[in-house]
Amino acid sequence: MALLDIAGLDVSFRTTGGLFPAVEDAHIAIDPGEVLAIVGESGSGKSVSMLATMGLLPWTAEVGAEKMLFDGQDLSRLTSRQRRRIVGGEMSMIFQEPMSSLNPCFTVGTQIDEMLRQHRGGSRKERRERTLELLAQVGIPDPAKRIGAYPHQLSGGMSQRVMIAMAISCNPRLLIADEPTTALDVTIQAQILDLLLQLQQDTGMALILITHDMGVVAETAQRVIVQYAGHQVERQDVKSLFAHPRHPYTEALLSALPERAGEQSRLPTIPGVVPGLHDRPSGCLFHPRCRHATEHCRQVAPRAEAGDPARTLCHYPL
């Protein structure tokens, strides 16, 4: 049975201009020990679907789903008290900006300790030992000294390691990493990705990686979900996604990568921009930017075919 099983997830935000659909009909299933990447541009709803799963969205959000199961429990029926027991414990999350996600008023030791106190209990001494062990596990040199450091005394890479230590403190079975390396330099990014994959392999947890970087996807994920304007346009195994993208958006996105463009003098581009609240096109959301669009695409929104292994949201998959 899948560890996390979400079907037909819809999230919309109440705005002054009306209801804005941020995510529509999302399906996410992940087994223990799997690495799944959700990739998309800004505004594609990749973070929103995971925040909805965690129950971290503001009150303006309306969340609905056909199915939202974590380890067989229906997340949508839990009381907030029951949900808090899962979130942070069995299911935890790492956020993009390590510098602004940590509380500047408390030492990192206190912040990790808070997680342990909430979810696991134990004496002060036991918790301190566990905190030191966690800091060592995420590769922070000299944990006994760093346990009393405030976030401003740490670099970006070190702060992200603290965030990871916090997230894995209660041995989660599912770890969601929301752009964990976007704010970091490449050599530090490589260290953090190595660390996440190492932890994932050691503990057998499931890892969902939200990113916009195709390079990161290729090097870490097993399966990939591509999102565009709140829709999951393609779900594929990582190798076949890069070898044979089935949705025109995925194809265009991959060919816009400078390293895949080869020797041609101009980079292939995707004309136009991602639709916003007021300019959502009829039919397929991607048709105004699609090379292959026809009249049919302009009028009828595509539906994912049940029999299609790639679950491509397109009338004419490649």
Partner: protein
Amino acid sequence: MSGDPVIHAVNLTRHYRVASRPFAAPSVVKALNEASFDLYPGQTLAVVGESGCGKSTLARVLTMIEPPTSGELTINGRRVELKEGEPPPKDLRREVQIIFQNPYGSLNPRKTVATMLEEPLKLNRRELSADQRRQAALEMIERVGLRPEHADRYPHMFSGGQRQRIAIARALMLNPRILVLDEPVSALDLSIQAQILNLLSDLQDEFGLAYVFISHDLSVVKRIADDVIVMYFGQPVETGPADEVFERPRHPYTQALFSATPIADPNRHKERVRLKGEPPSPLAPPPGCPFAPRCFMATEACTQGDPPLEAVNERVKVACIHVEKPAQTAP
């Protein structure tokens, strides 16, 4: 290469004095150390490195926002002699323009696009009439791929890619010869990034612009750069033609940087050069080579002295004592 260089920089150095706590004697942060290069019209020089390596300090020195602590800067054949806190000569200032990373922060939210584009003309080309200024702004708006009706809109009405087009248009209003691009596409989405890179290469061909392209994204640099400077901790560690540096990185830091960059190909499993630790604090520089504490090739000799940037061949220079140099070449 055609003609004279538009920028000729010799040993550009910029140091800052910072007090770590009140009443303490200020210590010196060497933000930029001995950067030398020539930049020719129509060429792109990429400056690559991680945060804190001095890329943006170099941009500030080249745009004459700050004078170098030492070293020579010649722009367009004219030696720049700046005093601390003194504005640079106006005519020279026109030649160099800068584009910043974040188009959300670099445009004034209270001004329309046309006002922003006309402002440099108002200050520098006083002979133009209001109509002529407006005309010039409209032409530039179209040139960077926006529509005339965008002229009277405010920045918040544009997407990130469009804002970066506005920033480019504004920089080009005075017909500069040099554009300093400080991470111009790193805040943009992938599909928009390609549009802006294409626009930049079109403009370069059309106006013969010279670009100083500051970036940490190696796949972008590989695509557009003619020459590369790889910087670490304020120092150039490897310089040379982009093709050669990418084909055969020699400095261990360059190798590590290249291998840390993720490649969008799941079938390519490469051996990573793993770097331990993080860049050192500029207030407590390590003895000798600044990269030695993280370097996989480091030996005892590395901590003895700062390795100079030495020529490996006529094109490439490397600052590492472990890279073989040709024996006895006259300097």
